[in-house]
């Protein structure tokens, strides 16, 4: 190494940071020693420790993709009301912990003035889990930020009120990899056409055996096209999942028309009452229609409305459908039941009705 080249700094591999220096002092003091909690109003949690200490948490929605100005604004509120501390939930809601109940009112007022809706607690529709989309992903079919913003504008009332039968967790995903995860309602990209291959680029860009191995239905095989090593697709076998696109970008899966949106229902993470469940297809073929995706919003609102009307207290969307049955679900939502709703992937027989338990 020559002396005129600066030696790069060696990283301090400190790993997961210790949260205690950053944690609100009252949470730190009562760590592992909490007794019970209740909710005073939507967006406010009240926790009581065994020591008798009390803390009020005010939860507000954010846009997740935050400019430094927004973060500084939240910091000012944390300094003014919450002793200079805050935390975030897994759904990108911000939480301020305050040590006196009378601080919650003024904090809520300032959050609301600043454009941060207060809510997302209890039986509300919380913030939609958020993926990257056109803003930053290398394989997106749509833009999560836009879908989330459009939907949350429409669901603002349900975020700021606790009027659902149970909590509702909505997720979005910009491709079928489904980074957004399982949800009571999931809004996911669903491709409808096999990839379009740019044969000029495949040999240079793609590790062909790895791409062949990636296909879940063995529809891809090596081929010489115009004298160049490339790949070809058996379009009859192709299920248009897009799995080949990340390892081989010349196999473009997206197009303005063929990239569609599907809405899925009944996913549940919690073990409460019933075991966790995966979401199931409600409707596919919705247009990918920026900037506000009105057709998707309509379907989501229709499902939410039917759930709110029809579910019993504490039923999650999937539990509600289990009780009323799928025939009634399609009836009350006005959605079509098609051959595409019948699973044909491995293990599919377990999703068929092997009984005379029927709903009429």
């Amino acid at each position: 190494m020559t002396t005129d080249v600066a030696t790069p700094r060696r990283a301090d591999e400190c790993g997961v940071p210790d949260p205690f220096p950053h944690m609100h002092p009252l949470l730190k003091q009562n760590y592992g020693k909490w007794d019970w909690h209740d909710r005073l109003r939507p967006g406010v949690l009240h926790h009581v420790a065994k020591s008798g200490d009390e803390v009020w948490t005010v939860r507000a929605g954010t846009q997740r993709q935050m400019d430094v100005g927004t973060i500084r604004k939240l910091c000012e509120l944390a300094d003014e009301f919450a002793d200079g501390h805050m935390r975030f939930t897994t759904r990108s809601n911000v939480e301020f912990m305050v040590t006196a109940e009378d601080k919650t009112g003024p904090l809520i007022e300032k959050l609301t003035e600043g454009g941060f809706p207060v809510g997302g607690t209890g039986n509300s529709v919380s913030m939609i889990s958020h993926t990257q989309g056109w803003l930053h992903c290398d394989i997106p079919g749509t833009d999560a930020s836009g879908v989330v913003k459009s939907l949350m504008d429409e669901l603002h009332y349900e975020f700021t009120h606790e009027e659902m039968p149970n909590r509702v967790r909505i997720t979005t995903s910009c491709c079928q990899i489904n980074c957004g995860g399982q949800g009571d309602i999931a809004v996911n990209v669903q491709y409808t056409k096999p990839p379009t291959i740019n044969h000029d680029l495949v040999a240079n860009v793609c590790e062909r055996p790895a791409v062949v191995a990636r296909c879940p239905v063995a529809a891809i095989r090596p081929a010489m096209v115009d004298g160049k090593p490339s790949l070809e697709i058996d379009e009859k076998k192709c299920i248009c999942c897009g799995a080949c696109y990340p390892p081989c970008p010349p196999m473009q899966i997206n197009s303005a028309d063929s990239t569609k949106i599907a809405v899925w229902v009944g996913g549940k993470h919690s073990n409460a009452r019933t075991k966790p469940t995966f979401h199931k297809l409600a409707v596919a073929g919705l247009p990918n229609n920026p900037p506000r995706w009105p057709e998707v919003a309509e379907v989501v609102k229709t499902i939410l409305h039917a759930y709110k009307e029809g579910a019993k207290d504490w039923e999650r969307v999937g539990e509600w459908i289990d009780r009323i049955g799928w025939p009634r679900f399609f009836e009350v939502t006005g959605l079509a039941f098609t051959k595409h709703h019948i699973d044909d992937w491995r293990g599919a027989r377990k999703s068929l009705n092997a009984s005379t338990h029927l709903h009429f």
């Binding site: 790069p8 990283a11 591999e13 400190c14 790993g15 997961v16 940071p17 949260p19 205690f20 220096p21 950053h22 944690m23 609100h24 949470l27 730190k28 909490w34 019970w36 909690h37 846009q63 997740r64 993709q65 400019d67 430094v68 910091c75 200079g84 501390h85 805050m86 935390r87 975030f88 939930t89 897994t90 990108s92 809706p117 056109w134 803003l135 930053h136 290398d138 394989i139 997106p140 913003k149 459009s150 504008d153 990899i177 995860g181 399982q182 790895a210 191995a213 879940p216 999942c241 799995a243 303005a256 990239t259 993470h269 919690s270 073990n271 409460a272 009452r273 019993k312 207290d313 491995r346």
Partner: protein, 421 residues
């Protein structure tokens, strides 16, 4: 340095400014018009490219290779495919950075993050990504090392990307929740920081994710999303404050108590006594949390607390969705030795995965391919009926050594009984 460049017209994105939910477009625009700052032009072109995506319904980022000195992962490289039209955002890489466990922040830390990102990046920070990273989005190639160095000096480190150990998450847990059954922060930091080399220098067959939930409500979605889910639970009886039960019934009425609590018990383990106290058949309880969620003051998890370990959760690629399934029904998590035992199990499982998984195979797929019994043998864990919904229904199995296997079971049961005596 900033010749004040004009904003691109963004009629489609402009439609995402109004409405009651905070608008990310307004935030991007604030950065783009912050003309004193080094990132203003980058953000102008970023908005331009995003508008182009909204017009054409296509993404225009491609990956590449960018890293910092000594690390092989943690940076998500993004090069624009339309850089000729949007030159100032031609490189827009993300630094994935691990937040303090449980996502607790002091305003000092957040402001330091903002200061650093104003100097070296775009001013755009996502809190947080789906794996739990802080995402510092938008950094030119020649700024990545400086940005990382400064973030590293304030105690932050890069997270995972690619075929590697990924950044983890824990719920708010012990910090603010009475339902927490173990010290999530301790388990999270112990395991991740022990295996940190697997995060910084990707060498696994594919990604590997841990997640830590304090109770079966599983607020970090571990069963669906984690290769290795640590979910708090308890082994003894639900704690009941019968006076609080009576108050709850008096306030809400018996019909509510029966409809909302008793009838929702999945194993019919609850019964309302004539004097409005609660009768719980704890041997039938499956620790689902419902009654505890509803009656937060009267009921709480038992005293003998620890965790259940489920392994193999993942989404569709390649064999279809899988949830994690039970591998360790109960591990006590109280003493140093308990946590060390958990940590050893984590290392064993990751080692087994590293040695036995095929390329691009998640551990759930490995288990699917080799069978759970072989996986258990590989990590030296004994079979347990809590691992299954029900025994096999197919008779297509060789059982020549059934009696020897049964003897092992009886021997283990005998040992357990002796330990408990």
């Amino acid at each position: 340095m900033n010749m004040s460049k004009k904003l691109h017209d963004t009629p489609l994105l402009d439609e995402l400014k109004p409405g009651p939910w905070p608008s990310f477009v307004e935030g991007l625009e604030r950065l783009a018009t912050d003309n004193e700052k080094p990132y203003a032009n980058m953000m102008k072109d970023l908005l331009g490219q995003l508008e182009h995506s909204y017009e054409t319904r296509r993404g225009y980022w491609k990956g590449g290779t960018i890293s910092v000195y000594g690390y092989g992962g943690g940076i998500i490289p993004r090069f624009s495919e339309v850089a000729e039209d949007y030159p100032d955002s031609k490189e827009f890489h993300t630094l994935r950075v691990i937040p303090p466990a449980g996502m607790h922040y002091s305003t000092e830390l957040l402001r330091n993050m903002c200061d650093i990102w104003e100097r070296h990046g775009s001013g755009l920070i996502a809190l947080h990504g789906q794996s739990g990273d802080i995402m510092f989005q938008g950094c030119a190639s020649d700024k990545v090392q400086d940005a990382f160095d400064e973030l590293n000096k304030i105690g932050l480190d890069l997270g995972g990307a690619g075929p590697a150990l990924r950044t983890s998450m824990n719920c708010v847990g012990s910090a603010r929740c009475e339902q927490s059954c173990y010290d999530e922060v301790r388990a999270h930091r112990l395991i991740l920081n022990t295996l940190l080399d697997e995060m910084h220098r990707p060498a696994l067959p594919y990604k590997f994710k841990f997640k830590f939930s304090g109770c079966p409500n599983d607020c970090v979605n571990a069963i669906h999303r984690a290769d290795f889910a640590v979910i708090g639970t308890w082994r003894d009886n639900i704690e009941v404050d019968q006076e609080e039960v009576k108050k709850y019934v008096a306030k809400g009425g018996r019909k509510h108590m029966i409809d909302a609590v008793i009838a929702n018990c999945p194993t019919r383990a609850l019964s309302l006594n004539d004097d409005d106290t609660l009768d719980i058949d704890n041997q039938s309880c499956v620790r689902c949390m419902h009654c505890i969620n509803v009656m937060t003051k009267a009921l709480s998890p038992g005293k003998e607390r620890g965790a259940t370990i489920l392994i193999g959760g993942k989404r569709s690629l390649k064999i279809g969705d899988q949830m994690g399934t039970v591998i360790i029904p109960f591990i006590r998590l109280e003493t140093d030795e308990d946590f060390e035992q958990l940590n050893e199990l984590a290392e064993t499982v990751v080692d087994f995965f590293a040695e036995n998984a095929l390329e691009h195979e998640r551990v759930g797929e490995t288990i699917d391919r080799i069978g759970l019994a072989n996986f258990l043998e590989g990590i030296d864990v004994e079979v347990d009926p809590n691992m299954i919904n029900h025994p096999r229904t197919s008779s297509y199995v060789r059982t020549d050594d059934f009696n020897e296997e049964a003897d092992k079971w009886f021997e283990r049961q005998g040992r357990k009984a002796a330990e408990q005596a």
